[in-house]
Symmetry: C2
Subunit: 437 residues, 2 copies
């Protein structure tokens, strides 16, 4: 039996969807690394009754540890510390040392924003320094302290109270793990392994069938927890198992390799983004591709993706080592002036065509002096489609040489945002194939 954990995300702005929760997923990963099983996430508004009901639910589901995020701000609608204190049967007391510590953090703010109301700041300071008796205080990263609040009886969960902003929560979690109060609650942890495979270009039902085949062939699937999901057009297969089931995982992997050789692009969980970055750096891809070695620079010329492909390529730190630049050519003039697409090509074939995608790739390559050029042109919608060229049609081309292009078209379903996003994924896979060739 491994320790079980639950997460309570508080905040009306999260519940109503005005802010999306980034803490749940991050904490899920951290718990997994510790071998702690995350069983439930509850999202509640800033109402004490609902927060308390969520804590009750977690306790009833026998969580060893409950993590809360949010509701630690200086304003009156931030109530988490108080509700958690009451739930654990602990009085709220002012921690004067903590109050001074927070005051010291706030002091420079007064300089930066000279017109702030000082009384407001002091009231917030006092509120944030009032904590449940017997709780362990986690030093503030922003202005809000975190808390580890043990149960007063022996059976309830230990509750870790963390702030909402991810950049405060994340360092504070590391701090929480060093506290005895939390270490005790997490003592029943099991060593789990997790492996991730990624495939591109087949429907999810094919993987379901592969699992049935594996079972029929005697793979001990009952020892593996396999989940599959479709994510930005790729299929992700995540398998979790105890170390003793390693051979069962390897048998499953063998079946998948055999049945999906063409589409299995990652055996180590690496994303296509990471593989493309590694290939451009000259470090080669994963086992699935080779890469011809040597670093290469890249540039894009994009129409319908409007800069999203460039943004995706420059997401990793250090992208400037291989990314030269991009041309976002929305208007036909920009395609001609900036990317050097001949006007005749656009006239003869239309802006969304194999020819223009290739010319964009060539233009990106030559104008931005890159080894590899990528061209993308399509109809993101909702308007602009025709019977011959419907919304969702995208032409992509990767040029590695003036004479060497990898060009293809796709017809992507969904909204404007879906088409734009999915087109960048198709482009990343096309780049990967061109680089690994």
């Amino acid at each position: 039996m491994s320790a079980r954990a639950g997460i309570v995300v508080t905040g009306t702005e999260v519940l109503t969807g005005r802010v999306s929760d980034r803490n749940g997923p991050w904490l899920a990963d951290r718990l997994h690394e510790l071998g702690v099983e995350l069983a439930l996430i509850v999202i509640v508004g800033d109402r004490p009754h609902d927060i308390q009901a969520a804590l009750r639910f977690m306790a009833d589901q026998r969580m060893d540890v409950v993590l809360t995020s949010g509701g630690l701000g200086p304003t009156a609608d931030d109530l988490t510390a108080e509700v958690v204190g009451r739930f654990q049967g602990r009085e709220m007391v002012l921690d004067e040392e903590l109050q001074e510590r927070i005051a010291a953090i706030l002091a420079p703010l007064a300089k930066r924003w000279p017109n702030l109301d000082q009384a407001a700041i002091r009231a917030g300071n006092r509120k944030q320094a009032t904590v449940p008796d017997g709780a362990t205080v986690l030093a503030p990263v922003g202005t809000a302290p975190g808390l580890v609040v043990p149960p007063t009886n022996d059976r309830g969960p230990t509750i870790v109270v963390l702030p909402g902003p991810p950049r405060e929560l994340q360092p504070m979690w590391a701090q929480a793990l060093r506290q005895d109060a939390l270490r005790t609650a997490l003592k029943d942890t099991v060593d789990y392994r997790q492996r991730t495979l990624r495939l591109f270009g087949i429907p999810e039902s094919e993987i379901a069938e592969t699992l049935r085949v594996a079972e029929r062939d005697g793979v001990a699937l009952e020892r593996l927890e396999v989940t599959t999901c479709l994510k930005r057009g790729e299929i992700e297969v995540v398998t979790r198992f105890e170390p003793a089931a390693q051979h069962a995982y390897e048998a499953l992997l063998e079946v998948i390799r055999e049945r999906h050789a063409d589409t299995l692009f990652s055996e180590d969980g690496s994303s296509v983004d990471e593989q493309v970055a590694a290939l451009l750096r000259g470090a080669g891809g994963d086992g699935a591709g080779g890469g011809s070695g040597g670093s290469r620079s890249i540039a894009t010329a994009e129409s319908c993706t409007g800069g999203l492909l460039a943004a995706r390529l420059t997401e990793p730190a250090g992208a400037s080592e291989y990314f030269n630049g991009a041309i976002v050519a929305y208007s036909n003039e920009a395609k001609m002036d900036q990317a050097g697409v001949p006007a005749e090509l656009i006239e003869a074939h239309g802006a969304v065509s194999a020819e223009v995608a290739q010319a964009l790739a060539d233009g990106a390559r030559s104008r931005l002096r890159a080894d590899v050029g990528v061209g993308v042109t399509g109809i993101a919608g909702p308007g602009g489609g025709s019977e011959e060229k419907p919304v969702g049609l995208v032409w992509l081309s990767v040029a590695t040489d003036p004479a060497a292009h990898l060009t293809r078209s796709v017809h992507l379903p969904g909204t404007r945002a879906d088409v734009r996003d999915r087109a960048t994924t198709v482009a990343m896979h096309l780049i990967r194939r061109a680089l690994a060739a």
Copy 2:
């Protein structure tokens, strides 16, 4: 008393954060429009026990309606329909008409993916057509049917079972609302109003103080449900109230207008993105700005944001009417060749400087033949910072004329992704100011 609703999001991939939930926020908005109070969201994995516990929790919290998303796929780990049926005390029965309907939907797949295993498809089809006795079936949008499953006693919640993919869930929700079984459960709805204000450039604590001032001045805050949050660098103030409290809201608005005239940029909930699009179209902004009328075209030249600003400007449908294109100039060569930044400027002031930001704005404007040019150059990190020019320093400039620039610098906190994202928000506000001037 308005009807209360809860959402149960199922899926190990959502629980573990490998896929982020887009359905909860969307359904929250729809429930709000109906005057239904969303009280709780629970995210659980694909385990029957945990799904059932979540349904139990919702029933204990006296929800009138529970919506579930996900777990309707053809694979064996998709269990929602069965668990909901059991929870409501209903047998699972094969709906043969539905089975044929799904088979008809699947038929074209066989053409598109000729190598698919037909037995796998038939097994999935049968599973998806097995539904709780007495449930109302919602026609599939993809291959999965939805369900409205009423309680067998008079006190439990009505459960609406919806598929996970947003593009299937959204049209199906409209279908669900037409079913008597759901309309009955939602009869106790109250008319609520919601108003959203947006401010840019002050800390959240200032709004907390403004609320205290408003209360002191006699604004009936107890009749308003006000939540504030910080979102991509902006403060969003959302107020929800019954129609009879309209005057209280107007009194609060007056206080906020008075205290935050400089930073209140939206009184109607419109985003800065919408305002910039409207200004470029020549439709004017909201009450806060005027706009000089007449449509204008725009182009960007970006370094650290790597195309994100162009991607953001091209997000709205119809952006091609005013967006000409962009230059993503990551390397210094690209800044010089593509955006025409003089080499001497880079040498004299460095690539991250007011001068280069202005030259980028000029280059975007002239090279891409736009009325408005935007230049962004900064240090996104994590590397590349110095004492004089630290990570997070970004220079931005908007050129509306060769002689007219609005130029400023900011020092943004956070990770590389934070700096890139926040810089686009600052740029949008700078564009708004330049256009509204």
